[in-house]
């Protein structure tokens, strides 16, 4: 393209970009700024008279809030258990679906179902399977002789969290499977042939050819999933609303419930800011990773 440096040429890209940036500024950046400001305010909807600037009081209250600390612990297990098993199951599924067998296309389609189903629907379907009175899970486990009486899975303080995590594993493993499958298909076939000529067995080929090639995909996908899982609230909201007690209160959900059920928008914003700062570390790592991966193919 000719490079005339007239005013209109220089302004052209800015004119194209301006409307979009304006909209993003108004609906995304401004609310984030308002959220930051809110975190320094007392803002309980039901008590309008007490609203006002209170400095760091919300932050101090947060660090003295035992439920906040509990929710941090819950968040850790929620994220680590979900993502670990999603990765494990996703990797296994990808390796299987990379083999040639009859019905592979069908299997690939079926495996994607959990990823496609709306979150609310996923939560409801599993809540129904784990229903305490008429649920399928109790029925099967009883017939197998593993349990001797019905368990109210989602109403029981010990079992609710594992069931919710399992649902999340179900929902998220196809994403890993597809990402890793794409990675597998990009590995040159002759590498395997060369390794085979060198006398490497199946396991050895997996460790020396497959894994090194998959590493970038696995790391990037894992970091991305860690962040999203920390942000996920819809599954738990649908299945238990954080209960019974505080057993399924992850931080993102606790933050949401503070605003939604207690209408405490100030304190809720404070926790949202905290969550954001926590995640920024991981977002930073993710940005570094994709820059390394994609330096070559974008601009």
């Amino acid at each position: 393209m000719k490079n005339k440096s007239s005013l209109s040429t220089k302004a052209y890209p800015y004119i194209l970009v301006a409307p979009t940036l304006l909209v993003i500024g108004v609906i995304l950046l401004y609310p984030m700024f308002r959220g930051f400001v809110l975190s320094f305010h007392n803002h309980v909807l039901t008590r309008p008279l007490e609203q006002g600037f209170i400095g760091f009081d919300n932050y101090i209250a947060m660090f003295h809030d035992p439920i906040f600390w509990l929710s941090l612990k819950k968040t850790f297990w929620w994220v680590v258990a979900s993502v670990f098993f999603q990765l494990l199951l996703g990797l296994g599924t990808a390796l299987l679906l990379n083999e040639k067998f009859r019905g592979r296309a069908l299997a690939r389609g079926l495996v994607l179902i959990p990823w496609v189903m709306p979150s609310v629907v996923s939560g409801l379907m599993w809540a129904w399977i784990f229903d305490g009175t008429f649920g399928l899970a109790n029925d099967i486990l009883m017939k197998l002789g593993i349990i001797s009486e019905n368990i109210p899975w989602l109403g029981n303080a010990k079992t609710a969290f594992p069931v919710v995590i399992m649902t999340n594993i179900w929902k998220g493993f196809p994403f890993f499977a597809i990402s890793i499958l794409a990675g597998l298909q990009s590995i040159p076939k002759d590498l395997y042939e060369a390794a085979e000529i060198d006398g490497a067995g199946v396991w050895r080929r997996f460790l020396t050819v497959t894994m090194p090639h998959l590493r970038p995909v696995i790391i990037t996908t894992t970091v991305l999933r860690l962040i999203w899982t920390a942000n996920t609230t819809d599954l738990i909201f649908t299945m238990t609303k954080g209960g019974p007690g505080y057993t399924t209160h992850v931080l993102a959900l606790y933050t949401y419930l503070k605003a939604w059920s207690e209408l405490d928008f100030g304190y809720s914003s404070t926790m949202a800011i905290f969550l954001m700062l926590l995640l920024l570390v991981f977002i930073g790592i993710y940005m570094k990773l994709i820059n390394k991966d994609k330096e070559t193919d974008i601009i």
């Binding site: 052209y12 194209l16 970009v17 409307p19 979009t20 940036l21 993003i24 609906i27 995304l28 609310p31 984030m32 308002r34 809110l38 296994g92 299987l96 990379n98 299997a107 079926l110 495996v111 994607l112 179902i113 959990p114 990823w115 496609v116 189903m117 709306p118 979150s119 629907v121 409801l124 809540a127 129904w128 008429f134 649920g135 399928l136 179900w170 998220g172 597809i178 395997y192 991305l224 999203w228 942000n231 609230t233 819809d234 909201f237 649908t238 299945m239 993102a252 933050t255 949401y256 605003a259 928008f265 809720s268 914003s269 926790m271 949202a272 800011i273 969550l275 977002i283 994709i290 974008i298």
Partner: protein, 280 residues
């Protein structure tokens, strides 16, 4: 991986059994929801679970459509998802073109912002946006949800379109310029038609994402007339004496458009998903 013939029992253990287990795990809740949805209440509330109804019925589906707010919620979800998609795509096209074709100050940092905003906690936006909407008396309107969904979809659509547009060779632009095409002409005559599959995939994904959204919708709507499908569904749980048959029918009807869209565009979606960050 190797082409050597393996004995059948090894193949059974290392391939067929795991494949079947994974597939069963993936489809089990959906199949079970379907079976439940064609049972009547007496066959759902049995002491010992019945794996297939003696008298399959479509009564639950009729109930959901005739006696619940499902049709209203369906309409709301359609309008909100369609408007969000339309706004995001229209706003993104020109801006993404600028990003893909011109180097200007701040373009790199903005692209980083677009992709990283996909990872911000939603609660961080929900809470202040609620306060703002309340101030503008916009709560309980479809418009408030369209705006809310645009907050997370617009950066995503921008990011995806920039990727697709960048993939179209500049040689084509130059050829078009020689033939007397203006810069805006290049966008509409070269870039848009060539990246149409990508744009359609991104649009469908945006639609599905808005269709699924629960947390904003729960916060911003409080009257039956404004609820979306996910909100309506989420209210089944916690009710005293959940009507599982109706719930399963409503859940499957809610998923149907998503599944159809997905099947229609499976190839595009997977290509798009592996190309960039897509919410899962």
């Amino acid at each position: 991986m190797s082409c050597k013939k393996r004995p059948w029992y090894i193949k059974l253990i290392t391939l067929w059994i795991p494949v079947i287990l994974v597939c069963v795990f993936a489809v089990l809740p959906v199949v079970w929801a379907f079976i439940t949805s064609i049972k009547d209440a007496t066959e759902i509330h049995t002491a010992s679970v019945r794996y297939w109804p003696r008298n399959p019925t479509i009564q639950n589906y009729v109930n959901v459509i005739r006696t619940t707010d499902f049709p209203t919620q369906f309409k709301n979800s359609c309008i909100i998802s369609a408007c969000t998609t339309l706004i995001c795509v229209v706003l993104s096209v020109t801006a993404a073109y600028a990003f893909s074709r011109f180097k200007f100050r701040g373009s790199k940092i903005l692209r980083k912002f677009f992709i990283s905003s996909q990872m911000f906690p939603k609660v961080l936006i929900i809470i202040p946006l609620f306060v703002i909407m309340q101030g503008l008396h916009l709560l309980n309107t479809r418009g408030s949800l369209v705006l809310a969904y645009t907050t997370f979809s617009l950066p995503y659509v921008m990011y995806m379109l920039i990727g697709y547009f960048t993939g179209i060779p500049r040689d084509l632009d130059e050829a078009a310029t020689v033939d007397g095409c203006s810069r805006t002409g290049i966008l509409f005559r070269i870039v848009l038609p060539l990246s149409l599959p990508g744009i359609v995939a991104t649009a469908i994904y945006t639609f599905i994402h808005a269709w699924d959204e629960l947390m904003f919708a729960v916060m911003f709507t409080s009257t039956a007339a404004q609820r979306t499908l996910p909100v309506g569904l989420s209210m089944y749980i916690g009710e005293y004496g959940i009507e599982w048959g109706n719930m399963c029918a409503a859940a499957l009807l809610t998923s149907l458009p998503v599944i159809l869209l997905f099947m229609f565009l499976q190839k595009f979606l997977i290509a798009g998903m592996t190309a960039g960050g897509v919410k899962g």
